[in-house]
Structure formats: structure tokens, C-alpha cells
């Protein structure tokens, strides 16, 4: 008797819960590379706020570490099973994820790549991202304009991300070099340029430790380096420590990309000359809106005219504006920063 009542109550509770889940509206999935990187933390914040506003349910997944492809595939499978309307994805492995993405799209799920384009880029229904090449181009142009005539005999080091040369790494590096006026050779490869001003490049894993070590290695190669491109601001902070250790922190120009709050503060303090800022919160909230539109009207998002993705914008942050290069002040950058 008791047991039957208990079973009945449980069934009722389950039905009630199912009912409330229905009332929550459509599900949208967010799958990021990690849930520890401030960039992705901000992305999740943006997506959560927008989903709440639109009456949708957000389910967030993340790999355990950057490069954890397996967990991302599991997350996609879970979202398909869950009947999600759309998946917002920052892929750890841009080509190996494609079959899983195809499976989702075949099941009628809208897949939007955030921040990191897939390979090929049209494997996703849309890509909402920073124009990383433009981000690099802006800091390259700024560095060239700031140096003036000295740019002709600059000694350049590039501190990149990883030996595997992921797309974001290549785009920022090559954008910077083009902005600085270096002949790119193959624009898809880092390190094949033969400009005598290039001292070399090394990898940093995008953190302070890697930035310091890479900078030390390149300074050992040529201690007269005076322009440094860094993949992101933590790497730039590490590079600065290496320069400080040999007393050259004031005569080397460091430029970077990202726009995180500690990074923008470093621009204010003169650690970094200029940084290109990207907008993860915007990427995520626009992504959620697009999924809502797909759910309601069956309309897929369109690309920014002239580009093969939807450009979520980038702005150069510096207090030393250079002629001919558009930029925003550190104060404006601080208002828009993340992390």
C-alpha cells in the first residue's frame, strides 16, 4: 500500500518535473574547450543571460583541458539525444569534430561555431567569431606606425600558441606580419617567411610560463629584439618578465590579442603597447539569439558581407593612438573587457 503510494507520488513528481522542463522552452547547448579559461567563462555568462531572457534552457559542456576532443564529441551526442534546438561550439579539434557536427545537423540541430572556425568553415551552419587576421593586422599596423622609420630595421620575435599551428594562431601571427609589412610567403604557415627582420618564433601554450620561456629562448638567439608579437596577453605578461630580467622592458614594443581585463590593465601600465580586443560575451549572446530564431522561424544566420563568417567585431586598445590605425582608449577597453 505504502509502496504503491510512494510509486504514485514519484510518478506525479516526475510528471511535474517534466512539465516544468517543457515550460523552460527550447534547449540550447554551449560546448566550450574548457570551463576554466576566463574567455569561455565569459562566453557562458553571455549565453546564460541571453537564454534566460529568451526563456530558453542553456546546457553547458566543456572539455577537461584544451584539446580534449573526446569529451566534446560526447557532449554533442548528449545534446542530440536531449533534443536541443542548437549547439554553440568552440571546437578543440577543428577538423576531427566535423563528423559529430554533421550528425547533429542531420538531426536538425543548428550548429554555430563560436570563436574557432571549423575546417572546412562551412561544416557548421554558421561561425560567430572575431576576425583574427584583422586582429593581428591592427596590432601589426600599429607597431609599424609607432616605430616609424625604425620599422625598417626592427628585430621581430613572434610568440605563438602551439607547435600544431591551430587556425587562430596562424591568423593572428600572419595578420600581424602583414600589418607590419612582412612578406607572408604561404599565409597558412607560421615561420616560412624570409624577411631578415624576423628573429624567430617560439610557442607559449598561451600562458605566462610559456611566454617567459619562449622570450628567453629568442633573446638568447638575438638579444636586440625590439618588437614582440604575442598570441595572447598572458603570454605577453610572461614575455615582459623575461625582458625585465635583462633590463630591456622599456625599449621593446609588445603587442597582443585578446582584450581580457588583466591584459587591458597591462596596456594601461605600459607592459603591452596595444592589444586587439575580442568580444566573447557578444559571440555567445548572438549565438543564443540565432538558435531562438531557428527554433521559431526556421531561419539560419547569415555571414557578414564579404566574409565567410559572422564577424563579432574587434577593436584595437591603446592610449598611444597611431596615425591611420583606428583604436579605442584603455578606458573604453576596460568597460568592454572580460575575465
Amino acid at each position: 500500500m505504502k509502496l504503491a503510494r510512494l510509486a504514485g507520488a514519484t510518478a506525479l513528481a516526475a510528471a511535474a518535473m517534466a512539465g516544468s522542463a517543457m515550460a523552460e522552452g527550447e534547449t540550447v547547448c554551449l560546448i566550450t574547450k574548457t570551463d576554466t579559461n576566463p574567455f569561455f567563462v565569459k562566453m557562458k555568462e553571455g549565453a546564460t543571460a541571453k537564454a534566460e531572457e529568451l526563456g530558453m534552457t542553456l546546457k553547458a559542456f566543456a572539455g577537461k583541458v584544451d584539446g580534449d576532443h573526446e569529451t566534446q564529441v560526447q557532449a554533442i551526442e548528449t545534446c542530440i539525444l536531449d533534443g536541443a534546438k542548437g549547439i554553440l561550439l568552440t571546437a578543440s579539434d577543428t577538423s576531427s569534430i566535423v563528423p559529430a557536427v554533421k550528425q547533429a545537423r542531420d538531426a536538425g540541430v543548428l550548429v554555430i561555431a563560436l570563436d574557432t572556425p571549423l575546417e572546412p568553415i562551412d561544416s557548421a551552419d554558421a561561425t560567430f567569431a572575431t576576425d583574427n587576421f584583422l586582429a593581428g593586422l591592427l596590432i601589426g599596423q600599429w607597431a609599424k606606425a609607432t616605430l616609424g622609420d625604425a620599422a625598417n630595421d626592427a628585430k621581430i620575435a613572434t610568440l605563438d600558441l602551439a607547435v600544431s599551428q591551430p587556425t587562430v594562431d596562424v591568423l593572428r601571427n600572419q595578420g600581424f606580419l602583414q600589418g607590419f609589412g612582412v612578406d607572408l610567403a604561404d599565409p597558412n604557415v607560421i615561420g616560412d617567411e624570409d624577411d631578415p627582420r624576423l628573429v624567430g618564433s617560439d610557442v607559449t601554450a598561451g600562458n605566462e610560463e610559456g611566454g617567459r620561456r619562449a622570450m628567453e629562448n629568442l633573446l638568447a638567439k638575438d638579444p636586440t629584439i625590439n618588437v614582440v608579437h604575442t598570441i595572447n596577453e598572458p603570454a605577453a605578461a610572461g614575455a615582459y618578465e623575461a625582458l625585465k630580467a635583462i633590463g630591456r622592458e622599456n625599449d621593446v614594443l609588445i603587442v597582443s590579442v585578446d582584450g581580457g581585463c588583466p591584459g587591458v590593465q597591462n596596456v594601461a601600465d605600459g607592459v603591452i603597447g596595444a592589444t586587439s580586443q575580442q568580444y566573447p560575451l557578444l559571440m555567445a549572446s548572438l549565438g543564443v539569439e540565432a538558435v531562438k530564431k531557428w527554433a521559431d522561424e526556421g531561419v539560419k544566420p547569415e555571414n557578414t558581407p564579404g566574409k565567410d563568417f559572422f564577424d563579432t567585431g574587434v577593436a584595437l586598445v591603446t592610449d598611444k593612438a597611431a596615425d591611420g590605425v583606428e583604436s579605442i582608449s584603455v578606458k573604453e577597453g576596460m568597460d568592454l573587457c572580460w575575465g
Binding site: T36, N37, P38, V41, V65, V163, G200, D202, V203, N207, E208, E209, R212, R213, E216, N217, L218, A220, K221, P234, A237, G238, Y240, E241, K244, A245, P262, Q265, N266, D269, V271, G339
Partner: protein, 357 residues
């Protein structure tokens, strides 16, 4: 009947024609290879030292003064200081036939505690440092307790602890980086290990000196104190050690707690090296320290090897990394060569082990 009795009397017949010599030791006729083998057995840090010197000579010849200068050679010391300190902790644990996969996590956690206690709660930096050192030691104590009292395998315990501490590190720090400039202004003692001084072109940091002193002290303690002999004995055979009066529990606790404390010091040194307090640092320190220990000739099966070897192991990795980068080689070549070194080191260890002690 008589036939069978005659045969049964003839037991010794089967032994006829076999050597009549009795068993004896013939240590004195080892030959050249045997002598080398024996010598290496007695001095386990010699192999990595030879490899280290050879690597320095080869890169010195290839690169000249760019590599073979006081500046470049001390730069290698600076680059390996963190791994060197952590490898000292790792060596102690591996000598007891254990392994510590949580070293990097303990290091990062301790550095985050030192930073956040100072900037979030406004504690004096010196107090925060003591708190950080305490946290490291406490995590080591939990590892030690689970290994020695609950008898869980060290691999499992520290595998779990690695994830627990790393997750706690991210949750607690809220993934927040404390910038170098702030630390320099308000809590410069946190960057103490980064302070440097010049000796004729060579640049040393407090962190480098700390690493060298730590390894010398531990090396002395392991060779010349009762505690050191207990560590080796526990690693070689815990039952035999117990029977001969060694307190295995206390020895293991001391090793894991000391390991945690050393990792906390590594966390302090890390702040000195990278300037800031970043929760994303040091995630590969466990693998890097095990690499240094293995290349340094400490046996993963415990009870054998010298802690000085771990320093040489870390330095070998540092020499290859800088040398190959100066030669302009792709970074992948470094990983490839280090992989070969690891396997070669274990092969040499197995070969040396064939000698009776």
C-alpha cells in the same frame, strides 16, 4: 630382486660427469664492461651527469659562445628551476616506490593561496606565504595518510588528489590572475625567488640558489642520516624495513609531507619566475618532474638512485630545449629527443640492475 637393489644403490651414477666445483663468487673477473656496470651501480647519478656534460659539449661546439656563455648556461638553470624543485619532491616519493601525480597541482594551489590570501583578504604577504606552505604540506599529509594507513596505491591516491586540488584551485581562484605589477607594488616578497644577481656575466636568481641548496641538503640527508636510510629501505622492501625496526608509516608520512612542502616552495618560486599568480600555470609539472627523475636515473621501482641525478635530469631537458631552439629546430624535435632519453634512461637502469650489489 638383486637387480633392483643393485640399481637403487647406484644413486650417484647420474651425477657422474657433472662439474665437481662448488659454488663460488667470481667478482674479481668482471672485465671492462662489468667494471663499468658495477661502477655505475654504485654511483647512480653518473650516467645522467655524463649525458649532461656530453649535451653541453655538443651544443657548445655547434653554437659556440652563444650557447657556451655564462649567461646562456645560467639561463638554463633559471628555466629549469621550477621543474628542478618539483623533481626533488618527486624523487623523494619515487625513492619510496611511490609516485606523486599531484605535485604540479599542489604547486599551483599553494601559489594561488599565497596570492589570494594577500589580495583578497588583505593578509600580510609573509603570513600568506606561511599559509601557502601550510596548505602544500597539508595536502602532502593527506596523500601520505591514504598511502601509508589506508594502504591505497600512491598512483591512485595522487591521481585523485591531482584532480581534486586542480579543481579546487580553479574554483577558489575563480580563474583570476593577479598581475605582476600589483604584486610588485603591494607584496614584493611574493616575487622574492625571482630576485637576481650577477656573478661575472652569470645571472642567478634566488630560485636557482634555492633549488641547488635544496638538492644538496636532501642529497646529504638521504645519504648520511637514519631518515635517509629509512626512505631507501622502505622503497626497496617495506616488509623487510618494518621487520628491521623502521617505522614505515612515519617515514612515508614524512616523505609525502615534505614533498607537499617542497611543492609549495615551488609555488612561491613560480610567482618569482612568471611575476603573476596564474591558476593555469604548472599543469604539466607532474609529467615534467617524472621525466627529470627518470632521466636522472632514479628507479621507478623504488629504493635506488640519487636525488642529484634528478637535477641532472632536469638540466638535460633544459639544455636540449634551449640548444635546439638556438639551432632553430622545430620544437617537436625537443619532445622527440626527450622521449628517446626517457626510454634510454630506463634501459640503462635495467642494465645496471643486473649487477649484484
Amino acid at each position: 630382486m638383486s637387480d633392483t637393489s643393485r640399481r637403487s644403490d647406484d644413486f650417484e651414477a647420474a651425477a657422474q660427469g657433472s662439474p665437481e666445483q662448488i659454488a663460488e663468487f667470481d667478482d674479481h673477473h668482471r672485465g671492462f664492461v662489468g667494471t663499468v656496470q658495477h661502477f655505475l651501480h654504485v654511483n647512480p647519478s653518473l650516467v645522467p651527469l655524463i649525458v649532461l656534460v656530453a649535451a653541453i659539449v655538443i651544443f657548445g661546439v655547434l653554437l659556440g659562445s652563444k650557447f657556451f656563455s655564462p649567461f646562456a648556461l645560467t639561463l638554463i638553470l633559471q628555466q629549469v628551476q621550477i621543474v628542478g624543485i618539483v623533481a626533488a619532491a618527486q624523487s623523494l616519493v619515487i625513492l619510496t616506490a611511490g609516485i606523486d601525480l599531484s605535485v604540479g597541482a599542489i604547486m599551483v594551489m599553494s601559489s594561488v593561496v599565497m596570492g589570494q590570501f594577500t589580495f583578497r583578504y588583505g593578509l600580510p604577504p609573509s603570513v600568506s606565504i606561511i599559509c601557502g606552505l601550510f596548505v602544500g604540506t597539508a595536502i602532502g599529509a593527506v596523500n601520505g595518510y591514504l598511502v601509508s594507513r589506508i594502504k591505497l596505491p600512491p598512483f591512485i591516491v595522487t591521481l585523485g588528489m591531482w584532480q581534486i586540488v586542480l579543481a579546487a584551485n580553479f574554483l577558489y581562484s575563480q580563474n583570476e590572475t593577479i598581475r605582476s605589477q600589483e604584486i610588485e607594488e603591494h607584496a614584493s616578497i611574493l616575487q622574492l625567488f625571482g630576485a637576481k644577481f650577477n656573478v661575472g656575466g652569470a645571472v642567478f636568481t634566488v630560485g636557482v640558489i634555492f633549488m641547488l641548496v635544496l638538492i644538496l641538503v636532501l642529497s646529504y640527508a638521504l645519504r648520511h642520516t637514519a631518515w635517509g636510510r629509512h626512505v631507501y629501505a622502505v622503497g626497496d622492501d617495506p616488509e623487510a624495513a618494518e621487520l628491521s625496526g623502521v617505522n614505515v608509516h612515519r617515514t612515508l608520512m614524512s616523505v609525502y609531507m615534505l614533498s607537499g612542502l617542497i611543492c609549495a616552495f615551488a609555488g612561491w618560486a613560480l610567482i618569482g619566475r612568471i611575476g603573476s599568480v596564474s591558476p593555469t600555470s604548472g599543469q604539466l609539472a607532474n609529467i615534467e618532474s617524472i621525466t627529470a627523475v627518470v632521466i636522472g636515473g632514479i628507479s621507478l621501482f623504488g629504493g635506488r638512485g640519487s636525488i642529484l641525478g634528478s637535477l641532472f635530469g632536469a638540466l638535460i631537458v633544459g639544455v636540449f630545449t634551449l640548444g635546439l631552439r638556438l639551432l632553430g629546430a622545430d620544437a617537436q624535435w625537443t619532445f622527440l629527443l626527450i622521449g628517446i632519453l626517457i626510454i634510454a634512461a630506463v634501459a640503462v637502469d635495467q642494465w645496471i640492475r643486473k649487477v649484484a650489489a
